[in-house]
Amino acid sequence: MTRRFIFFVVVILLFSSCNSCRNSNKDVSDAFEIPDSLKEDNPVPISAAVIDDMVQNIASPIETAAVLKGLKVPFNKDLIANTDFAENFNTNFAKALGLGIYGCDLGYLNMYGKTSLVIDYISTIRSLADGIQVGQFFDFSTLKRLATNNENIDSLVLISQQSMSRIDTYLRENNRSNLSMVIVAGVWIEGLYISSVVTQESNHKRMRDIVGEQKEIINLLMPLLNHYKKDPNMAKLIKSFEEIKKLYSDVKISYEIGEATTLEVNGELQIKQNDVQTIEMSDETLQKIIDKVKEIRIKLLKG
């Protein structure tokens, strides 16, 4: 009788596991991994208050790529990092950095619908994500199917973004915010590199502003990175980013505060901010920033 009961329970258990697997699109084997906190080499603890205060989307690959596409800037494969550099990423720190860099590139590829190139990048990202035990959050199989069959590009963008977002959330919630911040730094430097090169080639005012407004972003990013400055790798990265930040001291950003306007159009609420943000940056400063970003980015890729 007892044996029958156990058999019955095990059958239910198997069905439950299959359901869970189907719903989440995750490999069931990933659900039983040893907690990362036990594997990680001395994660740096950070208070809940600081985590709460962290900006959620400090660097997003989608917005910059959307602006480029909106400006009808043609796709340029040479802008993104070659996946061969991935073999230089051997430590957890380097893997997280690579994850950020290639995550940004994936956003760029997705926005331009370059599915033939996507597979190489998602394979690289999965390998790096596995390397820091967050591969279970990267929905490789769905992304591969979407890219291989050249299916719905919107879904490709959505799942890529969600995968990166889940990795970020998991790391933050599991006392591994240090790696989360390294990923953010990787996304940011790659995004700035892409924007810089396009600005240099096109000298488009909008792209110039995007490079200039990164002064706001680096001012938010640096204090967050500084929480982990005791880590020698992070200290090195901070030192490099400080060089960029220093150049941004010559960029002037001014504001005029305006009253936002709210309109209801066909039952939808539309709010328009009326603040004016003006960015002043000389050609010389822009060139210095571009050169510095190129120098630091290639240094990071070479490991």
Partner: protein, 145 residues
């Protein structure tokens, strides 16, 4: 005795699994919220779970919004809890957008926000009348200007 222990262990494991299934509700809410956001491009989701309270408890997040981009903030409530979520967007301490307009008493499943200033903004979520609730907020990109 041995068998009873085994049954107990298996039941405990099953309970653990049902916990996982419950956690997926938030992911389902993200999906629903994505449908509410229509064809806007997903950027980030915010999971909100708050207890009852007076004044209503808040859950806050900081986000970077960029100049000349139209964003969409959509919200979606769990049917399992009574709270109806309200999203408020602040620039420093200035309230600049909300999904609930007190003057009209109207709730909006999503609002569009055209940003003209790159920087950090604050999102604050609470449940109407301080009721307990589970909800998801979604930030997506509508278009670049």
């Amino acid at each position: 005795m041995k068998n009873k222990f085994l049954i107990f262990a298996v039941l405990l494991f099953l309970l653990g699994l049902s916990g996982t299934a419950f956690a997926q509700t938030e992911d389902e809410l993200v999906e629903i919220c994505g449908m509410i956001a229509k064809d806007a491009t997903y950027l980030k989701d915010f999971k909100i779970r708050l207890d009852a309270g007076d004044p209503p408890p808040l859950q806050r997040f900081s986000v970077i919004l960029k100049k000349d981009i139209k964003y969409r903030f959509s919200v979606c409530n769990s049917k399992d809890m009574e709270g109806k979520v309200i999203l408020e967007l602040f620039d420093n301490n200035r309230l600049i957008a909300t999904t609930y307009v007190i003057a009209t008493g109207k709730d909006y499943p999503y609002i569009d926000f055209t940003c003209t200033k790159t920087g950090a903004y604050h999102l604050s979520f609470k449940f109407k009348d301080g009721k307990p609730g589970l909800a998801v907020g979604l930030l997506s990109l509508v278009e670049t200007l």
